[in-house]
Symmetry: C2
Subunit: 271 residues, 2 copies
């Protein structure tokens, strides 16, 4: 089973990218699962029309003391369009314990109840603003073999990308995930492909794909669909297909070399 | 001593606003302290030319086992321009424990070593992407009597603001902070004053000040200064002075009523 995680600063375009890559694999006949690891629990909104209960919701309702054996796969895994399996980890109420707790609880449960059986590809969509507690889970437990970091050219997004690299380095030596590559999403912020490629090459990686700012993405967002379903013959759908293919076939995962604060500022300065 | 916290999504404009409000109070002869509670540790960059050691750095170097008595105020509190006292909590390496740990450690230390003596106003600049662990500290320990939430009109910023309200509610009944108001920072994102005021009034609060997108802010950022120092007679400096005054005199702090997901989406939809 292919296991890939996508990290990046909140709002950078992770869910857009993950759901579209999932749709491309589904188009090719793969059984895909998307696991949303963002407390917003909206990662699979473009794949399934109903709002699905989060794993944390289900655990809370059952009273966790009953134990994992009580929860059936069908209570936490929902089939969306194109046969894509959708899971939302969820998060606790803000201010109540660790924001990443949903990820810890859910990833643990999914393994125990055999939720991955029959799945060809699992994609984790993970909040990357803080790389701690539950949000570091996909990196460290070998849940994902590769991580792709989504970034724009904005300093804050690159700063977050660099922190995610530090998280990867931390767990790499004990079976953690490796960095597969950087995905440059222009997403309305100012363009600076050079700054993003410079960052990627300095950390020992590369930009595996770039996604331009696209009106079709905004339209399909309003339609709550992936671009691959909404506008299958558009240029942007083709861009997602190429990205999905390049990610699938990528053999170059590395332990990144995170940059110092000075090096980061220099990239921002010279852009 | 006046104690005020400023929360908001990363990149929303907290440090810009906090340092400028600090400069206004300093202009009026107040002894001001700014405590940066963002792992980026760059909250006081516009107030002091040297990069100051974070509290966590100092604790780490000393080996925490020595205990608090060993650390002198001058090792963690630095005087910047206009006599403003600067503290950076710092954060652990990403992936290593709780991102908010610096805030827990630092706020605890500052109290014990008498760092607040002689201070008229302390302003906390706090990361608001996740409202858990250390980042909830300023809300719960009565460190701040009021909280101001900085937001733009973007859905993600308002979503984060709503989560911060949930954090406030959680601790309000046991001496936690109350919500003083919403600060609308246009910050280059699309303008929608109506959506922001609607959000503020639905949660039982109000917009206490609005800051337009400003080239002078960008210029002073490059000069690593506050607008109040860089362009003291500009319109934007006047806007900061009025905001600082309104915040200082505000008597209307409330326990907010966080909105449901549906209500939040409706605000975003109708904008
Ligand atoms: N390349 C793009 N062009 C236009 N809009 C985009 C692009 N990428 C993302 N968006 C929009 O940006 C917003 C945030 O994207 P999303 O995928 O939800 O981010 P994340 O999951 O990282 O928080 C969505 O409204 C989405 O439609
Ligand atoms: N009203 C504004 N107009 C123009 N630029 C702004 C405005 N507010 C903030 N900025 C810029 O946005 C960036 C992020 O602001 P900052 O105060 O550092 O955010 P935060 O502390 O919330 O992460 C900075 O480059 C800052 O100069
Ligand atoms: S580990 Fe991270 S997510 Fe968990 S409480 Fe700390 S800051 Fe929040
Ligand atoms: Mg998302
Ligand atoms: Mg800041």
């Amino acid at each position: 089973m292919k296991r890939i995680a996508f990290y990046g600063k909140g709002g950078i375009g992770k869910s857009t990218i993950v759901t579209n890559i999932a749709a491309v694999y589904a188009e090719r006949g793969k059984k895909v699962m998307v696991v949303g690891c963002d407390p917003k629990a909206d990662c699979t909104r473009n794949l399934i029309d109903e709002e699905i209960p989060t794993v944390l919701d289900v655990m809370r309702e059952r009273g966790v003391v009953k134990g994992y054996e009580e929860i059936d796969v069908s209570e936490v895994v929902y089939e969306g369009r194109m046969g894509i399996l959708c899971v939302e980890c969820g998060g606790p109420e803000p201010g109540v314990g660790c924001a990443g707790r949903g990820v810890i609880v859910a990833t643990d449960l999914l393994r125990r109840i055999g939720a991955y059986e029959g799945v060809d590809v699992v994609l984790y969509d993970v909040l990357g603003d803080v790389v701690c507690g539950g949000f570091a889970m996909p990196l460290r437990e070998g849940l994902a073999s590769e991580v792709y970091i989504v970034t724009s050219a904005d300093f804050l997004a690159i700063y977050a990308a660099n922190n995610i690299c530090k998280g990867i380095v931390r767990y790499a030596s004990r079976g953690g995930s490796l960095l597969g590559g950087i995905i440059y999403n222009v997403r309305g912020s100012f363009e600076n492909a050079q700054a993003v490629s410079k960052f990627a090459s300095l950390i020992g990686s590369r930009v595996i794909g770039s996604i331009p700012n696209s009106k079709i993405i905004s339209e399909s967002e309003i339609a709550s669909m992936t671009v691959v379903e909404y506008a299958p013959s558009s240029d942007i759908a083709q861009i997602f297909r190429k990205l999905a293919e390049d990610v699938y076939r990528n053999q170059n995962a590395v332990v990144p070399r995170p940059l110092s604060k000075e090096a980061l500022k220099e990239i921002a300065m010279n852009s």
